[in-house]
C-alpha cells in the first residue's frame, strides 16, 4: 500500500468518526464508562496488593530455640533456617536482647528487678518472601532440630490472602464482562457506519478495491474512538482516584487504620493505568472495527 493511499484511508477513518456524530459520541462514552469501572477495580486490586505487600514486609515468624541449647549452639541454627525456601531474612535475638526489647515496652522498669534473662528464650525472627506460604514455612521451621516452638500468625495471613484473591477475581471477571460490552458497542457503531456505506463498499469491491483498502478506514474509525475513550477515562480516573484517596486519608485520620493503610499515590499507578487503558482502547477499537466490516467483505 502506497503512502498517499494510506494517508487517504487514515483521513477517511477520522472523517468517519466525526460524520457519525452522536453514534461515535455514544460509543466513546460507553468505552470510557467501561474503562473507568475496569480501572476502578484495578486500582482497588493494586492498592490491596500494595497493602498486603507492606504487610508481607512487616510479617515475621518467631522461631524459639530449645532452652537446653547454649547461645553458641542456638546461633549455629541460622544456616539451617536460611536454607528454608521462602525465608527472606533471619535475625538472631539472644535471651538478653529479647529481655531488653521486652523491658523497653514498659515505662516502669522496677517490674523486672526480680526477673532474669532465663525467663526468655533465644529466638530467630524470620522474614518471609511470600506471606501466602506462611503455613508451610512455619512447618519447615518446626522441623529444624533445636527449634522448640514456632509462632506464626497464619490466621491473619489467610485473611489477607482471601481478600486479595476475591478482589483479583472480581476485578478480572468484571473486566472481561466490560471488555465484551465495549467490544460489542464499538462493533455495533462501526457496523452501523458500514451499513450506511454499504453501496460505497459494493462500488469499491466492484472497481477492484482490496479488502484491506475497505477495512482500514473502519479500523481507523474504531481506533480513534478507542483512543478517545481511553484518554477520557484516564483523565476521569485521575480525578476520581485523587478525590477518593484524599477522602479515605481524611476519614481514617491519624489513628491506627490511617497508619496501616495509605492509598498509593496516583503518580505510582499512572503509567500502568494509562498503558492498560490505551492497550484496551486500541484493541477494542481495532477488533470492533474489523469485526463489524467482516460481513461486507465476503462478495
Amino acid at each position: 500500500m502506497r503512502i498517499n493511499q494510506f494517508g487517504y484511508l487514515l483521513k477517511e477513518g477520522i472523517k468517519g468518526v466525526f460524520s457519525h456524530g452522536f453514534r461515535s459520541f455514544a460509543s466513546v462514552a460507553v468505552i470510557s464508562a467501561c474503562l473507568i469501572i475496569m480501572g476502578a477495580f484495578s486500582m482497588v486490586a493494586l492498592n490491596v496488593n500494595a497493602f498486603i505487600g507492606d504487610m508481607e514486609d512487616d510479617s515475621q515468624v518467631l522461631a524459639f530455640v530449645d532452652d537446653a541449647l547454649s547461645e553458641e549452639d542456638a546461633r549455629s541454627l541460622e544456616g539451617y533456617i536460611r536454607s528454608i525456601s521462602n525465608v527472606e531474612d533471619v535475625a538472631f535475638v539472644s535471651r538478653a536482647e529479647a529481655m531488653e526489647n521486652y523491658k523497653a515496652t514498659f515505662e516502669d522498669q522496677t517490674l523486672f528487678e526480680t526477673i532474669d534473662e532465663t525467663a526468655f528464650r533465644h529466638r530467630y525472627v524470620v522474614y518471609l518472601n511470600d506471606i501466602t506460604l506462611m503455613d508451610s514455612t512455619a512447618e519447615a521451621l518446626r522441623a529444624v532440630g533445636g527449634i522448640a516452638e514456632v509462632m506464626a500468625e497464619t490466621r491473619i495471613a489467610r485473611g489477607f490472602i482471601a481478600v486479595r484473591n476475591v478482589v483479583s477475581i472480581v476485578a478480572l471477571v468484571l473486566s472481561l464482562i466490560l471488555l465484551v460490552v465495549s467490544l460489542f458497542m464499538m462493533s455495533s457503531t462501526v457496523k452501523l457506519a458500514a451499513f450506511t456505506r454499504r453501496d460505497e463498499i459494493a462500488v469499491m469491491k466492484m472497481v477492484g478495491a482490496s479488502n484491506s483498502f475497505i477495512r482500514i478506514p473502519f479500523i481507523v474509525e474504531g481506533l480513534v474512538m478507542g483512543i478517545l475513550g481511553a484518554g477520557i477515562s484516564f483523565l476521569l480516573e485521575w480525578f476520581i482516584y485523587n478525590m477518593v484517596s484524599s477522602r479515605i486519608a481524611l476519614s481514617l485520620g491519624s489513628n491506627l487504620a490511617g497508619k496501616l493503610f495509605t492509598a498509593l499515590p496516583f503518580a505510582q499507578v499512572m503509567t500502568p493505568l494509562l498503558i492498560a487503558n490505551m492497550v484496551i482502547g486500541i484493541l477494542i477499537g481495532a477488533f470492533g472495527g474489523a469485526m463489524a466490516i467482516r460481513n461486507y467483505l465476503k462478495v
Binding site: 493511499q5 466492484m206 477492484g208 478495491a209 479488502n211
Partner: protein
Amino acid sequence: MVILKDVKVTYPGNKKPTLLDLDLTIRDGEFVFLVGPSGSGKSTIIKLLTGEIRANGGKIKVNRFDLRTIKRHNLPKLRRTLGVIFQDFRLIDDMTVYENVAFAMRVVGASDQDIRKRVPYVLKLVGLENCGSRLPRELSGGEQQRVAIARALVNSPETIIADEPTGNLDPAKSLEIMLLLRKINELGTTVLVVTHEKELVNAFGKRVVVLENGVLISDEEGGYFGKRDE
C-alpha cells in the same frame, strides 16, 4: 478476452440449473449484446465474470484470470481489468462527479498526479467536462450513467460489462449511452452489454447472443433480437 466453456450454474436450493453447458467466447475488442428474457441467466453470467459467484462446472477465463482456480485475494486484480456499469448507476451520493470517478482510481492505488491528469480526460470523453464539481443528484439520469461509464473507464479496463445500462433512461438518452459505449469499443475496449432494448440492439448491427432458460439459443454477428415476439 472472455471464454466460457461448458459452464454450469445451479443455485443452492434450486433443482433446475440457471446456466447449462454454456459456451461463449468474446474476443478482445468485440462489442457483444447479451439478450434474453428475465430469468434466462444474463445476470448470472455477469456475476460469474466479476467473480461474485463460482460455477458448478466448466471453464471460465476472463482477461487472463482462470475463474475456476482464482484465489479470493486475487479477485480485486480481476476486477481491475473490468469496468462494470449498472442500471441504477451506483454513484456515491455525497461525492461530486469528479470524486466519484477519482475514487475508482484511488481504490487501485493511483497517485494524486495521475488522478488529476486522467479524471478530466475521461470526463471529457463522456461529455461531462463541465460537471466535475456537481453532485450526482444534480444531474439527469443520462448524465449519471455517463459518470458511471467514466468511472468504469477511468482505470483503462480491458473489458466493460454493462448490465442494463439504459434500463432507467428514455430512448434518446439510451441511444446516447449506447453510442458512447460504441465509441469506447472503437477505442479498443471489449464491451459486453446486457439489455432488453430490442430497437437499440437491432439498430447497432453488432454480435447478439441470446439466452433462454440458461441455454444459449443464438449467437450471431449482426444478429436480430425479438424475432420470437414478432
